[in-house]
Point group: C2
Chain length 304, copies 2
């Protein structure tokens, strides 16, 4: 059975992953906001490090009311819009629909589940450098791996098929048996580097080259790992040094929160900072250092 | 016996306090750097909230080699120049000289004492808003209280006389019996507001009006107080809320570190951040939050 995909939020992520599926003939329905008219006329363009492509005709919609129900909904919005999700998702549901939150942070599925009880949810983590550079125009710079894990999916087969679909179209997709582990693991890098590039108005290469900033990033990584451990998620402390070493080798990079800051968009403070801090605290662990960054970001958000 | 004063560093502080003494006929010898020529010709000007004055002729020197030995040396340099102090102070010493470090931070007297063993040291804390606005031109905006305490002064009478001299010329000077207490107490305000105005590139009024920044300032104040307590300095935790309430009532203010940042001068990170962090750590207390700020400031110092 072929999966019918819905993409909520066709930007840097949704445009790339949905485009990769549509390009090879999968049925994909894309929700757009401001780019709808442009894509309706000119299609979707993806400039990818693995080869550029152009989809002259895609199933593009300006609102969910016109979209069909879908088997798998990939939510590719920024988490700053998650309060809108119930209204965006409900019209696309059939009894077997699985919603995959392709978003960073913690507590996403729990928060949405409380508002959409009974709906099958999964989470996805995208390890990718991709930006939207114009209307319906995505620039995929590097990487692309996708890790997907179930939150409360009843039949594991559907996630397997999603992973197979992605592999078939050239996206390195993996299933994780432990979504919480995968989410915490990604936070180990995201927590120090998203916030610090914003607060210090810089890029990852300058942070990692500076002794103090590198030490601080390492200490915050340890705080994430120890918070995770306290919540029963067995991340190893050695991961912190691995992430530091990896970042030393990375090209200069502005994480998504830095781009949000630069373009004066809301930042994903809630799910990348506040939820992990709250979750660890409930388990008895105080994230002292990370809570400094969280409060600094909230000040910047309110005063930028 | 009249005290002969030497001022090392005639800027916002040295120009004001030394000027107040000289104005009423005390013997004061001022060390200048770049302003020497200007003051030699035009004298020293102080625009003060308590009344402007101009000293057409002051004992101005371009280097310590021409200065006479002094009874009391008021060190009014930024602590970022403290590695120069032994060479600046030695030529001015006689057996009874007392050196008063009118500087913020912790460990100042200990560090200097190791390089000038046997020299009598005291510390001073200036509660003042004062800026240098031109060559030999000081603008005293508000306040002015001076707290002075002995580090290893043999005869307490000389500090009493210094305080009396200041009171006589209109400076509210007090002696503290516990210099460490006074230094830690001043850090309770300086630590959060100096660093946060720099890292968040703002002023005290905007920080204190923001819920997150205010909470963070309060938490850092508590960290200073608890660090002090662990070092045997009995600051009360209630001081944190008092300082917050006081800051709410203050006019918009850029602390000295913010001015240093704005004018691309070195910041006083060592004695306001690193020494308190080290000192508390030796006593077994980890200043988690303040060490985040310290490392951010070090990054900014190196990359600004």
């Amino acid at each position: 059975m072929a999966i019918r995909y819905g993409i909520i939020g066709t930007g840097a992520l949704g445009g790339f992953y949905g485009g990769m599926l549509a390009r090879k003939g999968h049925e994909v329905h894309f929700l757009f906001r401001s780019d709808f008219e442009h894509v309706h006329r000119h299609g979707l363009k993806v400039d990818s490090v693995n080869g550029n492509f152009h989809l002259p005709e895609v199933n593009a919609y300006p609102s969910v009311s016109r979209m069909p129900v879908c088997d798998v909904i990939l939510v590719c919005l920024k988490t700053t819009g998650n309060h809108l999700l119930p209204e965006l998702i409900k019209p696309l549901l059939h009894p077997g629909t699985v919603v995959v939150l392709l978003q960073n942070g913690l507590g996403l599925e729990e928060t949405l589940s409380a508002r959409l009880p009974g709906v099958q949810l999964a989470g996805g983590l995208a390890f990718i450098c991709s930006n939207k550079i114009g209307p319906g125009h995505i620039h995929h710079l590097d990487y692309g791996k996708l890790i997907i894990g179930s939150h409360n999916v009843l039949d594991p087969e559907i996630l397997k098929q999603v992973a197979e679909d992605f592999l078939e179209v050239g996206v390195h997709a993996e299933l994780s048996g432990d979504l919480r582990f995968a989410r915490w693991q990604k936070l180990v890098w995201n927590v120090p580097f998203n916030g610090m590039t914003v607060v210090l108005n810089t890029t990852t290469d300058r942070l990692i080259a500076d002794e103090s900033a590198r030490a601080l990033a390492y200490e915050m990584m340890l705080e994430v790992i120890r918070g995770a451990n306290q919540c029963g998620v067995p991340l190893k402390e050695s991961l912190a040094q691995q992430m530091i070493d990896m970042t030393i080798k990375m090209k200069p990079y502005a994480p998504s929160m830095k781009l949000d800051y630069d373009f004066r968009r809301p930042m994903e403070i809630e799910y990348i900072y506040s939820k992990p801090i709250e979750t660890a605290l409930k388990a008895g662990f105080v994230m002292h250092k990370i809570s400094v960054l969280e409060k600094q970001l909230r000040f910047i958000q309110a005063n930028h």
